[in-house]
Structure formats: C-alpha cells, structure tokens
Amino acid sequence: MEITVRDEGDTKVVMLNGKLDTNTTPAAEGEINALLDAGASKLLINFEQLSYISSSGLRLLLALAKRMKGFGGDLKVCALNEMATEVFEVSGFGSILNVFASEADALAAS
C-alpha cells in the first residue's frame, strides 16, 4: 500500500495505491489521522489505484467518517472499482459515505 496526498484547493486528496486490508489498514489509518491531527477538514479518498478493500478498510472509513462528522469536517470517496462498488453496496457504506464516480465530480461538488 502506497499513500500519496496532494492538495486540491482546501481539500486533501488521498490516493490509495494497493489494497486496504488487515495488513495495510493500520498504516493507512495512521497517515490519514495524521492529516486530521494537522488540521485538515476536507478529505477526498481516491480509490482509483485501489485493488481491493476488506472490512478492515471499511472499519477505517467508518471511524474516519465518525471523527470528521464530530468536528464538521467533509469526507468524500471517489473512483471505486467494480469490487469496491460491490463491497460498498453490500455493506450499506454507499449510503453513509459521500461517494463520487470521479475525482473531478467529487471536487466539483461542494
């Protein structure tokens, strides 16, 4: 798992490259929480380079969404592949997270 972060306006775009599972989630969780600790309030998690996500990844997203809702932050997710789309559907995460087809769509939505 490789994580890159760049700024698009006031949004931190987090590119996940690899997989988000039992072994990789703890590191990803650390990095993303560090962004929030540093004051970020708008996050866009880009799944474009993500191969698969398991329930550990979902656990991270849920914790993140709860934390950000607590301080009025804005969490978006975009560019889910077929596998991730299905996992979001089956888990009901599609309706509790803001999901966008592409990064452009996500950034365009305010």
Partner: protein, 535 residues
C-alpha cells in the same frame, strides 16, 4: 362345544313316536334329548339349536334319513354335527350308503341300550376332541399370520430403506453404481446406501446389523438415518463412523451392532476415503483385471463401545476400476453340506469375470452364490454393491493450488499473491479474484487472530481448485471449533452514528461467494467456499 357343566344335547329323529320314547328312555338321564318326527323338523332344529349329536332314522316319509344327512353335511353350520343312523334295515349296502354320506356310526334296531349309550358317548367324545383341535388350529393359524405379518413389516422397512432405482444418477457420467439386497426369510438387517454430500462427493455405505427380525430392521433404519444426517455436515468417513458409533453405543440396551463400510468417493479425483468398522473387506478390480483387497480395518463393529476413534484410508480409483462391497450373506452362504462360499470364491469370480457393468457384476455375484447354495435355504441377507469409476481422474495441473501457511497475518499476502497467479492462469476475471483476495483477508485474519487459545505456531491449509467454471476453496485450521457463518448479518441500513463494524467481514464473504459451508471434522475447522463463474 360340549362342556363338563352342561349336558350334551342330542337330537333324535324318527317318524314313530314310540321309538323316540325308547331313545329318550335310554339316554334321557345323561343327555338333553330333543326330538323330531320328520326330516323337515330335524333340519330346522339342527340349524337353530346346534345339537351335539343327531340320532337319525332312515325310513321316513317325505325326506328320508339319507336326504336329511345329505342336507346336514352340505350346510357348513351343521356339517360337523356327528350323525348316527338308527334303523331297522340291516342290509350291508345301506350301511355303506350311510357312511358314504358322512355318518359317524350305524346302529341297528332293535336298540341294545348299553350299545347305544356306549356309541353315543364315543361319538360325543370324538366330537369334543375334534372341536378342541379345530380351536387350537385356529389359534395357531392366527399366530402364524401375525408372525408372517411381522416378518413382512420388517422386510418392508428394510427394502424401503435402500435405494433401488437404477441408473441411480442418470446425469452423472463419472461413475456407475448398482446395489442389491436380497433379504433372507428371516430378515437380517442388511442395508446399503449412496448419496451425494457435495457436488462431487458421493457417500457409499454397506452395513449389516447383528440379530434378526423386526428389531434388526428397526436398528438398521436408525443407523442408516444417523449416517445420512451425520454425513451432511461431516465428509470424513472416520469422523462420521466415530460419531455414529458414539451415538448408537450410548443408548443401546439390546446391544445390537453393525458391521459398516463407509466410503466417500471424490468423483473428480477418483479418491475414495473409507473407513471399515468390522465389515468384510471390499475388493477392487483394476482395469488390467487384477483384484486387490481393501484390507484395512479401522475399528470394531459400530455400536458396540463408545469412545472408539476410527481411522480411515484412501485409495485412488483409476478409470475402469470396479469396487465390490458386500455383506457376509455372500461369504457365509452355505450349500447343503454346510460348506461356506468364502472369500476366495468372491475373488475368483471377480477375477475371472469378463468386465461388465456394475449391474452385471452384482447379478453374476448373486447367481454364483445361489448356484453354490443350491437347495440350501438362504440363512442371512445378501447385499452387494458395485461401483465403477468411469472417467480419467483429474490430474488438475494448473487447476489446483494447495498452500499451507503459518498463523501469521503477513502470510495472508502470500496466499493472495499465489492465488492471483493461479487466477491469471485460469483466466479468472479481475473483479472476481479481487473479491477472493478480500475473502482470504477476512477469513484468514479471523482464524489467525481468534482461533488459537495458545501462542504456538499452527498450520492453516488452503486448497483451491478451478474446474468447469467453478472455483472451490477450502480453508482448514486446527483452532477452536468455530463456525463463522452462524454470525448474524449486520444491519446495513443504520446511519453513520449507529453503524458498528462487527460481523461485516463475514457478511462481505457470504455475499462475495455463491456457497459457504462450515464443517468440523477430525478436530479441525474447514470452511468451504464456492464461486460459480459461468452463471
């Protein structure tokens, strides 16, 4: 029927009242004497009052004594009443005619009183004995009927419990199977059965319950049902028999037991796992005509003692191999000079027979035993089950992947890397293999994190096969018994605040795969996952 308390009733028939008075005078003290002065009245009284004996004059107007006798003998109600002719006629031909009509005796007038008394007494005694015999005979007949019914019940139970529709699996071309059960006159409790426990796993069993009659048939029915229900969630012959043995032994006051051979044939690989609990050895005929014996016993007869751990062996069937399983009704069949058919004759026949279908093998085996036994009665049930493996077993290079990992989370990556190579070889589409990656992550993480109560290193075996569009995965661990699929699905409609992550992983697994199955066998957990790609 006459009894000691009641005076026997006689009917005296004569058209001369004085003669009737004479008879009454002689017999009136000892018997109740009714009289009739012609044949019509005699027949009416005989029918309505059923006297114990009739004294009949021959020469009477209208209907003579012969005719009265003929009519009495023609009526089932009166035909058993003994008739003594009393007549003045003394011709020998008359006597003969009377006896021909079924008369019991013949007394000439003038009547000699002691003679009449003696003859009447004799006839009544005979009648009394006859009545008793008939009553006894009726009782015996009723008993016999009841016993026959009981035997039939046992036989019906037994025969209704064995599958007898052939071909048994018309849509399966990997094997052919044929079975036969020929009950002995007194049922012995044999049975056989075969059924699929998985798409490619055929369970086969042949058993023989000790004892005979309805109890044996009932015991057989219980055992057979138990085998079937146990094998539904347990595909190890050793484990099935171990469990069935415990179950049966614990509540078995009649101390009955079963010799049992149970095998599970993998119809894809030709592998037959089997356990033999005190049963005659089956024989295996190879395509080259040689016959070998499955000479492994894995424990005693089933039901005798609980707590026994049965083992199992595996034999790999090649294309054209035939397996012959039978009960001791074959080997212990006897001819008239009490010689046993024996194992060697089974082997000789199996070896010498030109190769035919399982059906013809069963038929020729039975024919051989029957011609050996000749006129000797079949003493025990005869059961024969024959199976032929008809296809080249899957060597499955490139379609099978076996991985053993240790209980370290980092090993999950190794499994997924190996699986991804495998998936690429098999042209499994990317979205499917990604889902399988997720599934391995969920299940292996669960096992590694929660299955072990110690700090020791453990192995987890993973086998993956891809055939005919079906991906099948088995994950086996020796951790604490745990069925992950019993966990309730999470409520995925809850809002962000109320969502809890518990149970989500298994929920994802169940949705990603078409079938999920958990089994506990040989002290191990096995999770089986099926994904069909063709649908």
């Amino acid at each position: 029927m006459a009894t000691d308390e009641r005076k026997s009733t006689l009917l005296a028939v004569d058209d001369t009242p004085e003669n009737l008075d004479v008879v009454k005078g002689i017999l009136g003290d000892d018997y109740q004497v009714k009289v009739a002065i012609n044949g019509h009245i005699a027949l009416k009284i005989a029918q309505s009052q059923a006297p114990d004996l009739i004294l009949l004059d021959i020469m009477m107007p209208e209907i003579d004594g012969y005719e009265v006798c003929r009519q009495l003998k023609a009526d089932p109600q009166t035909r058993d009443i003994p008739v003594i002719f009393l007549t003045a006629k003394g011709e020998t031909s008359d006597e003969a005619e009377g006896f021909d009509l079924g008369a019991a005796d013949y007394i000439l007038k003038p009547i000699n009183p002691p003679l009449l008394q003696a003859r009447v007494k004799t006839q009544l005694a005979l009648k009394h004995n006859m009545d008793e015999l008939q009553a006894a005979y009726a009782v015996i007949n009723r008993q016999k009927e009841r016993m026959q019914q009981e035997l039939n019940v046992g036989r019906d139970i037994q025969l209704s419990m064995v599958p007898d529709t052939f071909p048994a699996f018309p849509d399966r071309d990997e094997f052919d199977i044929h079975g036969l059960l020929k009950p002995a006159r007194e049922i012995g409790g044999d049975f056989y059965d075969y059924f699929f426990v998985e798409r490619n796993k055929l369970c086969i069993c042949v058993g023989d319950v000790s004892g005979k009659g309805v109890p044996a048939a009932l015991f057989m029915a219980v055992a057979k049902t138990m085998i079937k229900s146990t094998s539904a969630d347990d595909h190890s012959p050793a484990s099935i028999i171990t469990r069935v043995n415990d179950e049966i032994s614990q509540d078995n006051p009649s101390c009955m037991f079963i010799t049992l051979f149970l095998g599970i044939l993998d119809t894809e690989t030709g592998e037959l796992q089997y356990t033999n609990g005190g049963h005659p050895y089956p024989y295996l005929k190879h395509a080259d005509g040689s016959v070998s014996t499955l000479e492994h016993l894995h424990g005693p007869v089933v039901g005798a003692m609980d707590g026994m751990a049965y083992g199992e062996d595996t034999v790999k069937l090649a294309k054209g191999d035939q397996l012959l399983i039978f009960t001791d009704g074959i080997t212990e069949a006897m001819d008239l000079s009490d010689q046993l058919y024996g194992e060697q004759r089974v082997i000789d026949l199996f070896e010498s027979e030109a190769k035919g279908s399982p059906e013809s093998l069963v038929a020729s085996s039975l024919a051989s035993v029957e011609s050996f036994a000749g006129e000797a009665e079949q003493a025990d049930d005869i059961t024969i089950l024959a199976i032929e493996y008809l296809v080249e077993p899957k060597t499955a290079e490139g379609e099978l992947l076996n991985v053993t990992i240790s209980n370290q989370l980092a090993e999950i990556d190794r499994v997924n890397d190996l699986f991804n190579d495998f998936a690429e070889r098999c042209d499994i589409p990317m979205p499917v293999s990604l889902k399988v990656n997720m599934v391995f992550d969920e299940l292996l993480a669960n096992v590694i994190s929660y299955a072990y109560s110690d700090e020791e290193a453990h192995n987890i075996d993973i086998s993956i096969s891809f055939d005919n569009g079906q991906l099948a995965i088995n994950i086996t661990d020796d951790g604490v018994p745990f069925n992950p699929f019993t966990r309730e699905d999470p409520d995925t409609s809850l809002s962000l605040e109320d969502r809890d992550i518990g149970g989500l992983g298994i929920h994802l697994v169940k949705n990603a795969m078409d079938e999920t199955l958990y089994q506990r066998r040989n002290n191990k957990n096995t999770v089986t996952l099926i994904k069909n790609l063709n649908t």
